[in-house]
Symmetry: C2
Subunit: 222 residues, 2 copies
DNA sequence: ACGGCCCTCCCCCGTCCGGCGGAGGCGGAT
DNA sequence: ATCCGCCTCCGCCGGACGGGGGAGGGCCGT
């Protein structure tokens, strides 16, 4: 897709912290074959800067004001005919946003505490090739991960402790009577809790509630 | 962990196809800072060769006779005090083994059709750093992927096509009547299929059946 | 031609479930 | 001191569900 100029790699930095941009620029410009051609402090700015400068590689922070790195990545890849390779930069590994960014089409990701050597090699690597270390397999993996994620359910927070207990037991296949025996209350009480769970989850029967629990990843929070 | 010699990176190739080893050796030895110190044609051989030569990087094929690349990776990482970085080499992306290899502790993976430039850069990268492109986040992702796999349920095969349809619809929260309307049969027929599903899955009600479907990863085979 | 499997549908019946409205106690917040 | 949320229970009712048993038709392999 992106064809790097024969002379040097043109890079755009997008990060809301000036210090980070400065540090990245210092590291990258020390290399003769790398050139930082632009910076952006917000996602929106990143989109327009990239559109104007058509760099080879974008180092994109995930957490930025206005438009975050994921949306910016989406917009860049969707609107540009010959989009740059986008490397997502984050402070924490296991950042959930990273997976979404990869899903959005980012070519790689990078921790801010990576040393200078790794940084420049990564930029060169991602610019010259995508058959390696980030083939579509990883993107598919991330996509799958993100697909099972996008249910950061709003209702979980609204459930009371008791209702959570009951839902958890519902999701193991117990009947109301069995749940009652398990948590040491009367069957009528369980019915009340079940009704509350159904109302708060927006489901109409226990089966749908259990499905919602699974889809929301509720069963993994054991 | 691994501390590369200041002079050059010592590499071991493990692949059952001689041609592949030759090709990799040709590419790598063309670089002044890379040195191929050993080869192995089987997983078992790879383990002993690595143990003897203590290289910095191992390029490991996944599919090999006797012991495959995954087990070899496990054994190397488990038995050596200062293990090398292991890069898994595969022909096909989306190779399911790749995820298991990453889970076993491999530092990266590489497609055989990767070009020479990408190959050498990847080797350097993986030898010098792991804060980048394959931090533990990706490994955790691979682990999660592998963890959700090992549920190849025995009963799925025993379900008839119709019963699979019904189970799939059950797991979307539909009632028998709704399922009947959806697949264009009478409610009585659906009841029959549901009963068959319950019997074959060893569950007593639709809720437990849906749980079984989710636990078995049945819902991902859409 | 026959048995076997699958899909289709029927009736009866007992149970479980979910919706309705109501009630008491208890603790924390205002 | 009062209100509000949570937990605990009660009865009533209609509908959905699951078990049991039976039956007809189509397809396939023997």
């Amino acid at each position: 897709m992106t064809s790097p100029r024969a002379d040097s790699l043109r890079i755009v930095l997008a990060d809301d912290e000036r210090m980070v941009r400065t540090a990245l620029r210092a590291i990258l410009t020390a290399e003769p074959d790398l050139e930082v051609v632009g910076e952006a402090a917000t996602g929106a700015e990143a989109v327009s800067v990239v559109r104007d400068l058509t760099p080879d590689v974008v180092l994109m922070d995930v957490r930025m004001p206005e438009i975050d790195g994921i949306r910016a990545t989406e917009q860049i890849l969707a609107t540009l005919p010959d989009p740059p390779r986008i490397v997502v930069v984050t402070t924490f590994e296991n950042d959930a946003y990273v997976y979404e960014a990869l899903r959005a089409g980012a070519s790689g990701f990078l921790l801010k505490r990576a040393d200078a050597d790794a940084l420049v090699q990564a930029v060169r690597l991602v610019a010259h090739s995508d058959t390696l270390l980030f083939p579509s397999a990883v993107r598919a993996l991330a996509a799958e991960h993100a697909r099972s994620r996008p249910t950061p359910p709003p209702w979980v927070a609204k459930l009371t402790a008791r209702e959570r207990d009951v839902l958890r037991l519902m999701a193991t296949g117990l009947t109301n009577a069995e749940i009652a025996g398990r948590i040491g209350v009367g069957p009528a009480t369980v019915k009340t809790h079940v009704a509350a769970v159904l109302a708060k989850t927006g489901t109409r029967d226990r089966t749908q509630a259990v499905i919602a629990a699974y889809e929301a990843g509720f069963m993994k929070e054991s």
